[in-house]
Amino acid sequence: MLPTRSTPSSSNAKLPEARSASLGKPSARRRRDVLYAYLFLAPGFALFALTILYPIVRAFQISLFHWAIVPGAASAFVGLKNYAHALHDPVFWRAVANTAFYMLITVPSQIVLGLLAAVLLDARMPARALFRTLYYLPVVTSWVVVALVFRYLFITEGGLVNWILHDNLHLIPHNINWLGARWTAMTALGILGVWKGVGWSMVIFLAALQGVPRVLHEAAAVDGARAWDRFRAVSLPAIRPVVAFVTVLLVIGGFNVFISVYLMTNGGPVDQTQVLLTYMYRQAFSFLDFGYGTAISFLLTLIVFAISLVQLRLFRRPAGER
């Protein structure tokens, strides 16, 4: 932070030398600054340690035991047995596949639709504030309420979706058992996820688009660029960091899908729609197997961590590009 401030024009490649130069001559003033900086960081770090680090360490500890939930009762140490169990458990792997499927259908749709809505709502149009609110409304609605509503929409007999597709439009020969089969149920869950999430990505994209200098658009227009070209060559590069941010958060959110699955299918029928968190929840809270449950959640953490690292690498601005 400091070195870049002292040499604002330096690129990332020059950073190490700049840092070693400033570290080479420490002054009392600088040491005091550093001390103050840590003092200001301390409360935030303490909170982080208490609410994030401690639960992670504790969860890892629990995952190595056949955990007795009663406080004070002795738990048997089983080493990595809970992890081995997960890697040989077909339902765990199905939950991984379902979670990945959910993530893959919800994340790109939320980005594309969110960006589309943001571009449209960035333009001058009547009732713009109303539309912005309407698109955002699903985001602030309770997951429980919308999951129950969607369950009724997708019910086989008497559900709205089958009623439209079958009874009204005659597009399907018979009612689809949406929540009764793996991929139709996962699709229904994905549709809910997209519907609920588009407003969120829209708002972030909208804020980013409004930060793109108008002069750039005007200059491009003068050069003869049409709307699509201006979007591709001016807006998109300018909001690239925001796209990266939204993608990383959506992927994490996609892996954490729980409430909608718990309420719409509860992992059923026959564990066909289990996702990692519903399966973890069942092991811990229905079967009292907290060791196995935390092992699953720890594996989920590792997956999300690895994917986030890859994404941050992919999205990192190539050196020299501005």
Binding site: I69, V70, P71, A73, R151, F154, I155, T156, E157, G158, N177, W178, L179, G180, A185, L263, M264, T265, N266, G268, P269, V270, D271, R282, F285, S286, F287, L288, F290
Partner: protein, 413 residues
């Protein structure tokens, strides 16, 4: 001057009154009682407006704080409370959770905690009492009992031109086919767990385990159990049962279907009558025994026990409320709300409260309990998952029940 004196006296009196009332408030004990009494029917209202006020009037030093939790969340809530040492004083627990909670060591054994345990345990039916036993002690007392009977809407049956409910497996098959031709499902069932399927296995002459609850292989996958489940699978595959049996979340629920006349019947407990009479007063339900198969008409015992937690700081006050809940007064009040009493003395007056109790009393005489083991939630999940495969057609009934029996064997070890 006089006024000043009067003021002083008044101030002192007010202070004294304040002190006395504070002391009284301090002497008052508050006990917490968790239950899953339903607010869809009259149960919660009966508890909060009749039973607790009557108890508090008789015991002015005790306040009862009742917390009602939806049934589907209560087990999770209890487990979380066990882990956090936050259990209430008393819990109205489903009978199938008592061995699990007792095994965790969080319940107080009532047979050694209550001096009058024998008097109370002698006054209740022995079947429900047995659900409180775990490793040589009694960890609760029964609070209400129930079983599942054939609950139907006579109006739907008469629209189908049928004079009465099916009495045997054979009648069930014929009537289900006839109902299908008129676009109605005769029988709706919302799952493939023990509560759903065991009445059919037992009525078909099959078994879940041996008598000592140590082995399922050779019982759950025996020919009679297979034949009973096969009958349901055949009905389902012929389009004569709705899909909620495989996928309870994805179809029209049994209550809604019966109300809408799309389903004629389901199996359920007495609360269904209470819920319908408050939610759909125009739908007059009727009940009959579970259709009889080669094993007779055998249903499954349900119900709740009242248990005292080890961590309760007010055990004596809590036990007072427990005794009150088993009194003829409280049992009768809850019977009016659709909860079957457990007192032996209730047999005489029970059918005079609601006519449907008569059928429940007949059914419960032959009903059987689910396997009393802390592993019941896992066993139930095995049944749910494996039997659903037979309905989906990914396995034959024999394969599904054999797989289930193997897994249950391991859980019973």
């Amino acid at each position: 001057m006089r006024n000043g004196r009067l003021l002083k006296v008044l101030a002192l009196a007010a202070l004294a009154a304040g002190l006395v009332s504070t002391a009284a408030a301090q002497a008052k004990t508050t006990i917490t009682f968790w239950s899953a009494y339903s607010s869809d029917g009259p149960e919660v209202k009966q508890l909060e407006t009749v039973i607790i006020p009557a108890f508090e009037k008789a015991h002015p030093d005790i306040t009862v704080k009742d917390v009602t939790i939806p049934y589907n969340d209560l087990h999770q809530k209890l487990i979380t409370a066990v882990a956090g040492a936050q259990l209430p004083d008393l819990v109205r627990s489903d009978i199938i959770w008592v061995p699990e909670l007792a095994n965790l060591g969080v319940l107080a054994p009532l047979d050694t905690t209550m001096p009058d345990f024998k008097t109370l345990s002698d006054s209740v039916f022995s079947g429900p009492l047995a659900t409180n036993a775990w490793k040589g002690h009694y960890y609760g007392l029964p609070l209400d009992t129930n079983t599942r009977i054939w609950v139907y809407d006579p109006a739907t049956l008469s629209k189908l031109g049928m004079s009465g409910p099916p009495k045997t497996f054979a009648e069930l098959k014929t009537m289900a086919a006839a109902a299908k031709r008129k676009g109605v499902f005769l029988y709706a069932e919302g799952g493939t767990g023990g509560w759903n399927i065991l009445p059919w296995i037992w009525s078909g002459g099959g078994r879940l385990t041996n008598d000592t609850y140590t082995k399922a292989s050779g019982y759950l996958d025996g020919p009679k159990s297979v034949a009973a489940v096969q009958m349901l699978v055949d009905l389902y595959k012929a389009g004569e049962m709705p899909n909620i049996i495989v996928n309870p979340n994805g179809g029209l629920g049994a209550y809604d279907g019966i109300f809408q006349g799309k389903y004629a019947a389901t199996l359920d407990g007495p609360w269904m009558f209470a819920i319908f009479s408050s939610a759909h007063p125009d739908t007059k339900l009727a009940g009959s025994l579970v259709p009889a198969g080669p094993g007779g008409s055998v249903s499954v015992v349900g119900g709740e026990d009242i248990v005292l937690t080890q961590q309760s700081k007010h055990k004596q006050a809590a036990l007072e409320f427990l005794r009150f809940m088993l009194s003829p007064f409280a049992q009768r009040q809850m019977a009016e709300a659709g909860q079957m009493p457990v007192l032996k003395s209730a047999e005489g007056w029970l059918p005079t409260i609601h006519a449907y109790y008569d059928t429940y009393l007949k059914q419960i005489a032959t009903a059987r309990p689910r396997t009393p083991t802390p592993k019941w939630p896992q066993i139930d999940q095995v049944l749910n998952t494996e039997i659903a495969k037979a309905f989906q057609g990914s396995e034959t009934v024999q394969q599904a029940l054999t797989h289930a029996a193997h897994q249950i064997d391991a859980l019973l070890q």
